[in-house]
Amino acid sequence: MQIGQRMVGDVTVVEITGDITLSKGGDVMIKDKVNSLLQQGNRKLLLDLGNVSYVDSAGLGQLVQVYATTSHNGGSLKLLRVTKRLKDLLVLTKLLTVFESFDDEKDAVASFTK
């Protein structure tokens, strides 16, 4: 799994590529990334999941965890380009309503300023 990062205005877009799974350590990498962004004062986080091929239950748990951590620190974390498979998983676990998710980056970035 790889994590990239870029700024669009004051929104930090975190680009994740690969699997978010326990076995590949992806779950912990996301946590570390988000924690460090929060420490640096970034409060508007957008996770781009368009290039994520697979998310296991540990990965899913971690996504919710970083969402909770971000909210707890007065920030907001949203999802961009959620794949069909992840969406199904979010529906089944009734977690879809927790996240705000977008298909279009412009819409997502704009939503932070509302």
Binding site: S57, G61, A68, K94
Partner: protein
């Protein structure tokens, strides 16, 4: 001069530290030669000085004192076997050792000849005899540091073959006993891989020459030009003639640096080869020992855990007046993350639940036990299933089990056939009625992640003969050899005609169908199912 060392036992475990400089500082400070982290140890607690061939231990006005064989000292000449204590605690012990080691000058002078490495081999042998799991790491560090010292290389790394015979990066060290990140060497793996494959050592005199150019730009950029790379080879001990023994390459040792004269000398190379053989043997035995000891211990613990887990589940078949049920849980490893449970909750009838914790094996099993016990404690004191679920969720959040969660279905059937249930992210259970199939989906999100989660419940009415079938996702997500999922459609197809049938028979059929479908493909997840039949008001 004898080779002196300290056998250290402290909160970090056991290790051996070589007294490799004339003045060796012991204390809490990070820059101490031996750092010991304890409130009893002062920043500069004591020092060991090498004077006229004797090792003098001096207390550095430490707060809680320095003791040798139980006696407080300010200065003392150390003898082989002396036990040193720092402060009041017995948890830290340093044993001074000189015997069992031959003459040396190797670590403090750094000269390079075969004798130095024979000395190293003796130390490795000693470490091997210690035979604990930590020893492997210590050996790797010792091998790297010694190899750097002797060859005058600036940095180096070691790769070892894993169980599949692929090279894995293990450790990288630089001069001054520093551990380097593995990424330092990402451009340098071509030579080690070749050495591993052929078993032939490589000395590359100058990376600027020949076909290495262009492949090692990163290495050359930091001024490093000369590379020594030797195979770590294990020759089984046997009386058979050398030609009949099978040698095995277990990994490679890679060193690079700027200093041409030492690095490329023939003496360095031949002693490094000899040393590599000893190092390989020590690494291999430490690894085998650690593996077998660890495995024996884990197997035993897991067996007990599995038994405890089985005992936590109630009887697989149960009947109470208006309801009978059957359940089964088959972990894919020794212990699993699934559970089922049922209990009588007074006039609200029989409560039953099935849960599934994210992940597999021991961590999942522990959390499953926590979820199950919370459920059993909270179900009888809640007025309806959604309240139970909300309380289980809160209980799990209080424990703050990082990013782990559980899904769970909980239902309660009254004697007159009203089924109230709440589904927290569980694969929706089926109700098989005379007229058809329906799903139980009302509820809320998975448990243990969200403090803001809310839960709802729904009540449906069961007729006599109706079946409720609850499965973990190990059933619907079971795969066959072609990688296809069992899926909800097959689940429905297997059970929809079973209205009124005995729960045991339905369960047996369902588990049988999943097994038949998998056709010998490995079970990837825990498989758990519970079948409940409403018998009618009695």
């Amino acid at each position: 001069m004898s080779e002196a060392r300290l056998h250290v036992t402290d909160s970090q475990g056991r290790r051996v530290v070589v007294l490799d400089r004339p003045l060796f500082m012991i204390g809490r400070r990070t820059s101490a030669d031996l750092q010991i982290v304890s409130t009893d140890v002062s920043r500069e607690h004591a020092e060991i000085a090498l004077e006229d061939g004797r090792y003098l231990l001096r207390d550095r006005a430490s707060r809680y004192g320095t003791f040798v064989n139980g006696e407080q000292i300010t200065e003392r000449t150390l003898q082989h076997g002396d036990r040193i204590r720092l402060g009041r605690t017995e948890a830290i012990e340093l044993v001074f050792m000189t015997e069992g080691a031959k003459t040396t000058g190797f670590l403090d002078t750094g000269t390079s000849d075969g004798g130095d490495l024979r000395q190293m081999a003796a130390i490795l042998n000693g470490l091997r005899a210690l035979g604990s799991g930590r020893v492997l790491d210590e050996i790797l560090v010792l091998v790297m540091d010694s190899a750097l010292e002797v060859t005058k290389a600036e940095r180096g790394f070691m790769m070892l073959a894993n169980a599949d015979g692929e090279l894995e990066f293990k450790i990288a060290r630089g001069r001054g006993r520093t551990t380097l990140p593995g990424t330092t060497f990402t451009t340098s793996e071509k030579i080690p891989r070749e050495v591993f494959k052929t078993g032939q050592s490589r000395i590359v005199g100058d990376l600027m020459e020949g076909d290495w150019r262009g492949q090692h730009d990163g290495t050359i950029a930091v001024g490093i030009r000369h590379v020594l790379c030797v195979a770590l080879r294990v020759t089984p001990m046997s009386a058979a003639p050398a030609s009949a023994r099978s040698e095995r390459v277990i990994g490679v040792l890679y060193l690079d640096g700027r200093e041409r004269s030492t690095m490329l000398s023939k003496a360095t190379h031949s002693s490094l080869e000899a040393f590599a053989t000893q190092a390989a043997l020590a690494i291999e035995s430490a690894r085998l020992y650690a593996e077998s000891a660890e495995k024996a211990r884990t197997d035993h613990d897991l067996k007990i855990a599995a038994e405890i887990q089985r005992n936590m589940l109630p009887e697989p078949v149960f009947e109470i007046g208006s309801v009978d049920l059957a359940a089964e849980s088959i972990p894919c490893r020794t212990v699993g993350g699934d559970f089922y449970d049922y209990l009588e909750i007074g006039e609200r009838g029989l409560g039953f639940a099935l849960g599934d914790v994210a992940g597999k094996g021991p961590p999942a099993a522990l959390l499953a036990a926590a979820v199950q016990s919370n459920f059993v404690a909270l179900a009888p004191v809640s007025s309806e299933p959604a309240e139970t679920m909300a309380r289980v969720n809160k209980a799990l959040l209080r424990r703050a089990i990082d990013a782990r969660f559980a899904t769970m279905f909980y239902g309660a059937v009254t004697p007159d056939g009203r089924l109230s249930y709440c589904n927290a992210g569980q694969e929706p259970p089926l109700v098989i009625r005379r007229a058809g199939v329906s799903w139980l989906e009302t509820g809320g999100p998975v448990l243990g992640l969200l403090s803001i989660a809310t839960y709802e419940f729904e009540t449906v009415v069961l007729e006599p003969g109706d079946l409720v079938i609850v499965c973990s996702d190990g059933v619907t997500e079971a795969r066959n050899r072609a990688g296809e999922e069992f899926g909800r459609d097959r689940l429905v197809a297997e059970v929809q005609a079973r209205h009124g049938a005995k729960p045991e028979a339905v369960l047996e059929h369902l588990i049988g169908a999943v097994k038949l479908f998998s056709d010998g493909a490995a079970q990837a997840d825990d498989v758990t199912a519970l079948v409940l039949r409403y018998l009618g008001a009695k």
